[in-house]
Each structure stands twice: as C-alpha cells, then as structure tokens.
Subunit: 235 residues, 2 copies
Amino acid sequence: MHLFYQPGIVSGESVQRLTEDDSRHAVKTLRLHVGDAIAVTDGHGNRYSAVIDLADARRCAFRITDTQTTPPRPFSIRICVAPTKNLDRIEWFIEKAVEVGIERISFFFGQHSERRVLKLDRLEKIAVAAMKQSLQSFLPTLDDALPFGEMLKTIVEQQRFIAHLPANEPPINLAKRATVTGEYTVLIGPEGDFAEKEIQQAIAAGFQMVTLGPNRLRTETAALTACQLLNFINV
Amino acid sequence: MHLFYQPGIVSGESVQRLTEDDSRHAVKTLRLHVGDAIAVTDGHGNRYSAVIDLADARRCAFRITDTQTTPPRPFSIRICVAPTKNLDRIEWFIEKAVEVGIERISFFFGQHSERRVLKLDRLEKIAVAAMKQSLQSFLPTLDDALPFGEMLKTIVEQQRFIAHLPANEPPINLAKRATVTGEYTVLIGPEGDFAEKEIQQAIAAGFQMVTLGPNRLRTETAALTACQLLNFINV
C-alpha cells in the first residue's frame, strides 16, 4: 500500500490535489485511475482514505472519504547532530531515524566540524520518503544548521544529553539516564568530536554526559543509536 | 588512534607482519616509522600493543609489547537476513551492526527474495573496516547465503525470533520477548516479506513472532533495529 503526502490539505474542501511529484508517481508509476482508493497524510498526524477523482499526472485530484487522526507520541526525540563530512552518512541517518521514529532533527556546525554547508531541501525529500515508506502520519521537523552556541539556545526539551564520556567518572548509558515519556534532546558531535568549550557550554545549559554503548561509533551511528535507545525505553 | 587487523598472529613469534593492505595504510597513509607504537587485533578478542620494526609498505613488521584479551560478551546476537535488492542497503547494515555490536550475520534467499546472488568478499572487508573503526577486538562471523530452509538448519541459538506480525494475536516487541544474557537469533525477511511456508517452517523450528516497533521498516532497518534492541536489553 502506497502513502501519499500532501501537507496542504484543507479539511472540508471537497476536492484535494496531490503534489506534482505524487501526481506523477500515482498516475505514471502506479498507474492509478479515477475511482482508485489511495491513502494520503498531511504529515501532521492526519491520514486520509481517499478516492481519485482526476488521474492527472501533474495535478491528480482526490476526494477524502475518511480521516484517521493519530495523536503525537507520549514522548519526543530531538537529535542535534553535526553534519558529517560525507553527506551520504547524514542522509542515511535521516532516513533511518524517520523510519524508527523521531520528532525533530537539528543540525549544528561545531568548532571541529569539517562540513560547513548543508542544504536542507534534499534532506527534507529523504525525510518525506522515509515517512511514506514507514507509513507514518507525522513528518519530523528538520532545522537548518546553526553554530553550536546558537543551536543550544533553541533547546526547549527537559531531558538534555550530550554523547560524550566524562573525564573523571564512570560513563552512564543514555538508556539509564533518560526516563520514560520525556521530551529528549541528545547532542551528537562531529567526526572531530566536541571542543572542550562546547562541552562546557552544554553542561552549563543543563546537558548530562552519556555513553551510547561500549564501542566508538561514527557520528551518524551515534545519532541513530541515541534515537533507538530513546524509542526502546518507551517500548 | 588506528587499529590494525591481523588474523594470523602467532603468539610467541617475535616478529609479526601486517597484511599488505594494512602495511600500505600504515606506511603510505599514516606515514608510520620504525619505533612507532601501533595497536593490532586478531579479531578473536586479542588486542596487541606493538612497535613497528620494519616500515615496509608491503610487509610492515611489528613486535608485540603487550596483549589485552577481551572476553566474549555475556550474550550473542545473530541476525539472519535476506540480502536487499539494492546491495548498498545490506552493506550499510553490516557496517552499522558491527559498529554497535553483533556476533554473527547469516544471509538467506527467501521465496520472495529479489536478489539471488551475494558476494561475501566485499561484505567481509566492510565488517573488518567497521571493527577497526569502532575499536573492537572481535570480528563477527559472516555466513554465505543459503536457501531459507538450509539456513534454518544452521541455527544453534536458544532464543529464536522472527520479525513478523502474528495474524490473530497482539504483536509483542522483541525487547519484551527476549531475556537478558541469551544467545539470540532473529530472522529478517526480504523486501517481499516471508512466504507463509517459511513462517510455518520457522515456527516449527521454535521461532517466536515479534515486532520491532510500530512502523513499517525496510529490511536493513529492521535488521539493525533487532540488533540494537538486543544490545539494549543487555545494557
């Protein structure tokens, strides 16, 4: 079953239209016709059962027959990560994090970041594709990259963690530090790791140091593992 | 710090040699010289502190100064997965599973598998690179692909799970079904999912149906999530 994405659905409107991309996919690839049933999400928790009214490859029209609204999860995961030098790795993280469940991804440039440019358009396409693929009704928020200090000011979540080993105390796993049904933020450093100054800034902002396991993980692996750990404690 | 891999270390030998690949990397890329300290693992739990005796780009020689032996983990994870149509996805799974910790990966061709050929050489290189990258001393076992029924006969683990939703009962998450410090096997189906016959074979072989979370996951995402869930319950 294929799920379409139309963020601009106006409830009450008798006729809705798929985006141009989805119209092409519906008519050219899936060869759907007038009267065929489809499912559409607005990415805000609504999933619509619908019927195609006009099989136009550029502006496919559909009629909503039923609406199912999914409530947000009783917890929320926000991962703040420095883009990797090799962009494939961060793209992969986005696809997988969206598949397993995440609310928000924020990017930052750290003092040791090798990558200083990040285009969000392509990353958002990947997030949309992963939301459809995994049949979800919420599209996670992707935040443009900010300098580390600026990004820190945008943190609103209560439970704050930074993936970094403490110098003088035994490391504690994120799964032990975090408590269930919370609003979580985890900071994941760049390949060159956090600068000491950045760690001090995070601690001053109420972040707790955590480990994600016994092994040294790549940036994107650490980011996904943090997301998975927080999903798991809420299973 | 860079970790080298030499499976053929003979304890007691005064002079050891890096593989040709690692010799080139040590001498050409890292520009190491005679007297430089290196770390080498045999992939069987031994990690050696060593000193370079001969900086030869094809047969770099080293002398072991210290040996640390890591015991195997008190649990073991074996994921049996059908290779994905797009090989990148299974390569990605191997890299990530090795990073987070896995003992064995077995491949199988299911009735609905789109891919019918799998070359292990390249996959083993990826596993070795991920072991070095994550600074581990154990190289997981990779098993050549077998037909589903043949692969089932090779299962020795006590705790057996198949990622498939039961028809008539509520799904139970792998994290709830599995118990700590066990020997686990999880079966992950191809993009086309398991055939009904395969599910019946697995159940007859003592496999329990489990879910890996609320979302529909791609094959490689499901395989990694199973691995991470089992690591997680043993944190």
